[in-house]
């Protein structure tokens, strides 16, 4: 049981390049989330999904797209990377919103630098 995994762990992009970050969870969780973590800004929600085939915008969705084609995977895409997207990206998943099963489990993070 690997929990929540993220690939890649590190990436350096040039402005304008595109890339996809992959999040995978093997806990059969319904809910998945993408956050970015920046110094002094804490964790900000980019997009999230409440189930396979669904996505919704979070606090800072601009410049990102997501897809949840399979329940276990949640992809975060950057179509045209900008230096402002330099950050550490965390994926998280949660079984449900019911108390007792609503703990969010986080991945190890992806450190992205856009030059």
């Amino acid at each position: 049981n690997a929990g929540v995994t993220q690939t890649p762990k590190f990436r350096v992009l040039k402005t304008g390049q595109s890339m996809t970050l992959l999040c995978a969870q093997d806990m059969n969780h319904e809910y998945m989330y993408w956050y970015r973590q920046d110094p002094g800004m804490g964790l900000r929600l980019i997009h999230y999904s409440v189930g396979e085939g669904t996505t919704a915008k979070g606090e800072v969705p601009d410049g990102y797209n997501v897809s949840r084609l399979k329940k276990q995977n949640f992809l975060l895409g950057l179509e045209s990377a900008a230096p402002s997207q330099t950050s550490v990206y965390f994926c998280a998943s949660r079984q449900s919103t019911r108390r007792g099963t609503d703990t969010q489990y986080f991945g190890p993070g992806t450190r992205l630098t856009v030059l």
Binding site: Y33, M41, L43, A56, F90, T97, T103, Q104, F106, P108
Partner: protein, 111 residues
């Protein structure tokens, strides 16, 4: 709007001293509050939640609805407590699917 405020970006104490990490929230209703911790080079993990009224690693947190606070406390800090701490809120407003995080407090426990 839901908001979580952690007024201290940095907090430094000596080993054995008491520590309190402050968290204030704004929410109209009955919130659920959590503390998450991120140790160096590790992923974020749940430390405790107010509903459980538990003590984890010597830490406790009491929800004070009158002061809209959920401060994290430990009577005797240890060096291994050095980490980034995030207070988070969840409520029906805006959908219970989401957690709202504070900006975090970096705790350093000096020997």
């Amino acid at each position: 709007a839901q908001r979580v405020t952690q007024p201290e970006k940095l907090l430094s104490v000596f080993k054995g001293a008491p520590v309190e990490l402050k968290c204030n929230y704004s929410y109209s209703g009955s919130p659920e509050l959590f503390w998450y911790v991120q140790y160096s080079r590790q992923r974020l993990q749940l430390l405790l939640r107010h509903i459980s009224r538990e003590s984890i690693k010597g830490f406790t947190a009491d929800l004070n609805k009158g002061e809209t606070s959920f401060h994290l406390k430990k009577p005797f800090a240890q060096e291994e407590d050095s980490a980034m701490y995030y207070c988070a809120l969840r409520g029906p407003q805006g959908g219970s699917e989401k957690l709202v995080f504070g900006k975090g407090t970096k705790l350093t426990v000096n020997p």
